[in-house]
């Protein structure tokens, strides 16, 4: 189909996960996926609180590829209420698991901030529903056009 790539998938196992205070959210999720032999997954729901969050925003007017000068990195101490986390876990280079997460959270003022998540530390708790995807032929590679890792489907060239 012109302008997009797709592949049908179905849901496999579904997990409810609790990550304890002080843990790295991204590290623990990847470790969990590895331990349970999950190769493809999608976050269905995530709630809790986080601190020491590092995330990225893309600068106004930026063009592709997305490179360091075109982004702004934000380090937010928090703690903040975790309002949502979206993203996927897909094998990357050398068949290692990789993730792409976007986070949304609120400060004490009620101000909501978010963006592309690099990492966050769980503050009080983090409750996640993760669903396994039954699929093959999907991998994560760095896009020459976009400049960032993104999923590729079968014969699609990076």
């Amino acid at each position: 189909m012109e302008g997009l790539w797709y592949k049908e998938c179905s849901n496999g196992r579904r997990f409810i996960i609790k990550i304890t205070p002080g843990e790295s959210l991204t590290t623990r999720l990847l470790q969990f996926a590895h331990l349970t032999d999950v190769r493809y997954a999608m976050i269905v729901s995530a709630l809790g609180s986080v601190k020491n969050v590092r995330l990225r925003g893309i600068k106004t007017g930026a063009r592709l590829p997305i490179t360091e000068p075109r982004i702004t990195i934000h380090d937010i101490e928090g703690p903040c209420e975790l309002l949502g986390l979206q993203g996927n876990i897909v094998p990357g280079e050398s068949d290692l698991l990789d993730y792409h997460f976007h986070i949304m959270m609120s400060k004490s003022s009620g101000e909501v901030v978010g963006g592309h998540l690099y990492d966050a530390e769980v503050f009080a708790t983090c409750e996640i529903v993760l669903t396994e995807l039954d699929v093959s032929g999907v991998e994560r590679h760095v896009s020459k056009v976009g400049g960032i890792p993104t999923i590729y489907i079968d014969e699609e060239a990076p």
């Binding site: 600068k59 106004t60 063009r63 000068p69």
Partner: protein
Amino acid sequence: MPDYKLRRSLLYVPGNMPSMLQNIPIFNCDSVIIDLEDAVPLSEKDAARHLVKRFLMQYTDRNKELLVRINPLDTRWGYEDLKVVLPAMPDGIRLPKADTPEIVERLDTLLTEFEEELEVEIGRFGILPSLESALGVINAVGIARSSQRIFALAFGAEDYTASMEIERSRGGEELFNARTRVLWAAKANGIQALDTIFADVGDMEGLRAETELAKRLGYTGKCLVNPRQIEVVHEVFAPKKHEVEYALQVIEAIQRARQLGTGVISLGGKMVDAPVVKRAARVLRTAYAHGMVDTLIDEEAIHGAQ
């Protein structure tokens, strides 16, 4: 660490006047802002940018900071100004009508594009946003934080008063609030604050008074419209001799205090503590930049590692 570069005087030079451009090397100002915006009539916009490019390319033995005021990015001239002038390697861009952080960020990303194209270091070109409206003043903090390229904020009173629908007075009380808000944003972000022009080039006493006010508030430089204003502005911004002498005494006193293992010491009946030392260090940094002292103070040795 605050920017050590002296920017006491930033002289506007019309970008469409060859005779003025050729005089840039002999002006004694710290910076020049070559103007492609308000000083250039519409019919000469295209010719002016090429003239500026030619001048910059020929001006290789540079003795001052060279900035170019481009047209606003939302005009049909703004992007072309960048495209033509940047290959001639000005030091930075003065961005007019910088009302929001997004406008500055847009310039930041454009400069990144050009730096990659020109194969120069990312961050090579600085940005001097000009806050010229009520909206710009309100957004001053966000603007100051919007790019690592920003080395100073400039307050533009002429456009500000126009946007506020008020007249500019000799005393400047109508500017006080806006001036301080721009200044606070600059100081809070560790960058310089540069004051607006003084348009009456025949009134040197008025220029002196306004410059002294700006200095008292915390501004470290002033934009100028005539070379004859340079000397007065430099005189005002230079530390006074007695200020430098006192600062040297403070540093000597605090060094004695550290040898004695105390954080404070008395000097002339007055306590010398951290804020006094900080102020003295600032005076000496400025004096060093003015060539009034030979050695840049080692602040870590004074304050200790943070």
